[in-house]
Amino acid sequence: MSNRPISEDDLHAYVDHALEAERQAEVAAYLEGHPDVAQRVASFSDQRSMLRAALAPIAEEPLPPQLNLSRIIESKRRRPASFRWAIAAMLMLAIGGVGGWAIRGATEAPTGGLAALAQEASDSYHVYASDRTRPVELRDSTELAAWVSSRLRQQVKLPDLSKSGYRFMGGRVVPTAHGPAAMFMYDDDRGERLVVLTRPMTSDQNAPMAPHSGNDVAGFSWADGGMGYSLVGPGAAEQLKPLANEIRKQAQSI
């Protein structure tokens, strides 16, 4: 018998049959002596069996035709997903005017800074990453690069995150209080989506990379040479850091 105190985690693992035999016996012995705890644990076990019983019939239903895996594989084979956006993205061709630059700076407002950019990126993430019908406006990277470059009056390069396991989905121009911004979307093999937002900065024209989080999303924002970038995704900011570094590196190599 070990002397380790019984924890809440032990109680749940006991209910889920996830303990080693020895620990299972220790918890059982503990429950013998603590009827009130035993009652709670018993009610958790009851929940477990009820849920399993209530949901079991679903798994026994015959599969509908739409879930026929052989057919899904077959149709994928007929239409191979030979998207070459990522490669095309490297061939940034757009012609961007630099005209707007001259008047920049006159209308500086503190709200144009990095914090605002991070907020705009989070907003875009919430609106577009959850869209299953039309998350992006354009999927063709060449066309998209030309479009956003002309709207932002900047040569905009589409970040390629394929080496990090994220596929380029497409993008669109989105409105912000500081003019048009370009939004790019990516997803990985688990369907997790990321959003990159970029626009010319009115303040914080050069700003070091800063993490931000809130409202279910996290990300990094920074600015280089007047252009601001913000990467936003679900989960913890730390996990996005290598991606943010990659995007920054690519953007600097224009």
Partner: protein, 176 residues
């Protein structure tokens, strides 16, 4: 190719069950599973974990479901109550049992989505705590605390009297 078929196919019934328990609507759940399978087929070669594909498939499905929830947070609530009639669940059960099951599922549906997901993955789909953490992309400690909160909360709900009126109240409230 056969390998992919052999490894994915046995998981499909469990994916359907999880999807339906999350979205409570047969057609919407099967659409999610279909999306999940299409993605799994396209990304089969790129999957990172070489072990059992079960948690990988659940992760894809879960992300698709969450994306959908986030996009339609308000709408989803209408769908879940209005369209998820009793016939969405357990048709084979004996009537009395069926009522108990419906009650459990209705109360499960009142849990916050993040708690519901943890409870379903662990208590119903038999994922280990580590696998559930991977599917949900959260630390194991968070899995444990959500599981604990889910069970306490469901217990509170279950101790309330089971009646049909509650269902009606929710239904009225959810009408646009």
């Amino acid at each position: 190719m056969n390998d992919m078929l052999r490894q994915i196919e046995p998981v499909i019934p469990a994916l359907r069950r999880y999807a339906r328990a999350l979205v409570r609507n047969r057609a919407a759940a099967d659409d999610l599973v279909q999306d999940c399978l299409e993605r799994a087929v396209s990304h089969w070669e790129q999957r990172r974990d070489t072990g059992s594909p079960k948690s990988w498939l659940f992760a894809i499905l879960h992300n698709l479901a969450v994306n959908q929830f986030r996009g339609a947070a308000a709408r989803a609530r209408h769908v879940s109550i209005d369209e998820a009639g009793e016939h969405e669940f357990g048709q084979n059960a004996v009537q009395e049992q069926q009522l108990i099951y419906q009650d459990v599922l209705a109360k499960l549906a009142k849990l916050p989505e993040e708690q519901r997901a943890v409870l379903l993955l662990i208590a119903v789909e038999d994922l280990s705590y580590a696998e559930a953490a991977k599917v949900l992309n959260i630390p194991i400690g968070t899995v444990m605390s959500r599981l604990s909160r889910a069970r306490e909360r469901l217990q509170q709900e279950l101790e309330k009297p089971a009646d049909n009126q509650q269902g009606n109240v929710v239904q009225l409230r959810s009408k646009p």
